[in-house]
Amino acid sequence: MDKEVAIVGCTQTKYEAEKIDLTISELVFEVVKKLHNDLGITNDDVGCVISGSNDFNDGRTIANMAIQDAVGSVRKSESRVSGDGAFAYVYGAMRVLSGEYDTVLVVSHSKCSEGDQNLINNSIFDPYYQRHLGLDQISSAGLMANMYMSKYGISEEQAAKVVVKNRKNATNNPYAHLQKEVSIEDVLNSPMLAYPLKELDFPPYSDGAVAMLLTNAENAKKFTDTPVWLKGYASCTDAYYLGHRTMTDLIGLEFAGKEAYKMAKIEDPVKDLDVAEVFEAFSTHELMIYEALGFCDKGEGGIFIDSGETQINGSIPVNPSGGVLSSNVAMANGLIRVAEIVSQLMGKAEDRQISDAKTGLAYGMNGICSQGNCVLIFGGE
């Protein structure tokens, strides 16, 4: 990239099943205030605000109206991307790169506990051909997993290994919602939800928020000694109707990954990336992501998890935070991935730190089964 945009600070809430005492606005205030305190700034130091949220999830049209007070945007410019927080980050980065703002606050939040997730997910489907069928995230995941597994001969054990890895990683992450290890048997014996996927192949629903401050090259050092820079970005959308898509491969993600690698001058992702945080909506999804991002060849996601390379001590650790399978904050998931990569590259990831992490990848997505994909590559100094 010619011009530079840095992330100089990130804050997250602890992710929980239900933050019943906090309104959405209070939840957002918590991370924004913490960010101010961490960076030693006041609201006056923030140029503008970009938020990422979803109206259906928040049970409120124009969901960003509810958080104006809490993000400190009264009399300021605030805008909002309707969708995953990773896209909000991109808009925030654009505002810095345009040269019009020195600092941009990016915020994303979700309280999955407030709404009925099946109903909310069902409304993603068009009202003519798909919605009456009663499809939702879980049934589409089942279809996708079945097609992928039968095409490439992936076993249920291999899928379960993803869950085991991520849930184990989560025990090192103080923010993670589920912090209890599970075994392959636990996953295989958990109740079947949508064949071939079982209860533990799916993430929980969590409440939480994440915030970060973006700035330009000129100002980055004022805030931190370890700013994290955007090196590559690409976004790509796959077909809408489930049957019109290649359900066995994440074509959209593959496309976005290649573009982002080109921008960041990454030739061999396994070698050149030190860590990846991806939005895995269900166990086999993570295996498909390995393939689409070129961590392994097509159809070898299963072999790749077997190889242990994506474990926290492997050559390309994936989701050292525990991923979405441990904390699923709907619209904030993508921005949480970014925040986790930032912690890794800043060397502030504590117990989940990957040693010498210099380059990291964050993947956020929108819609059902990787419809809208956003790949971001970050680098330390």
């Binding site: 933050k19 205030f29 109903l119």
Partner: protein
């Protein structure tokens, strides 16, 4: 309109239930409301008095807690009014909202912000800006939003 009716339409009724957290200040507000008391919150920094009570003073970016809550008068001064006289579906119920109804914006004595609520008058000539209004409580309050079904216009300060 004829053409419109011929169009092939798929009907769909959204019915999404939500459990919105209301926050600690609102919990306290409703506890007080049960005793027919209206409360707000006061910013510990700038002193601005908010109604409804909330956790963040948007001007100072300072947090307000239950300790910062203050009692407000059930009476206030009318700043603007309208009589809603058109049909629409109320998303809270899925049915039509009964109309016409009076509706006003007013400042409760002691508050710095305004509030909007139903007013028991549907003739717009009976309203006057600057007029006094008063909260009408249900006889048996239950500590919820329906405890004050509407405000009434005070003819003369009684």
């Amino acid at each position: 309109m004829g053409k419109k009716e011929k169009e092939f339409q798929i009907k769909w009724k959204t019915d999404l239930p939500y459990r919105y957290s209301i926050g600690k200040l609102a919990v306290k507000y409703f506890e007080e409301l049960k005793n027919k008391k209206i409360t707000g919150s006061k910013c510990p920094k700038c002193g601005k008095k908010y109604m409804p009570p909330r956790a963040v003073c948007a001007d100072c970016f300072v947090e307000m807690t239950v300790e910062d809550m203050i009692e407000l008068s059930p009476r206030g001064t009318l700043e603007g009014f309208t009589v809603v006289n058109y049909p629409f579906v109320d998303p809270n119920t899925g049915g039509m909202r009964p109309f016409p109804y009076g509706y006003g914006i007013f400042k409760l004595d002691g508050a710095d912000t305004y509030m909007m609520h139903f007013v028991d008058e549907t003739d717009h000539t009976k309203f006057k800006i600057g007029q006094r209004v008063e909260a009408v409580f249900k006889e048996k309050t239950e500590g919820d939003i329906y405890d004050i079904p509407y405000f009434r216009l005070i003819k003369e300060e009684e």
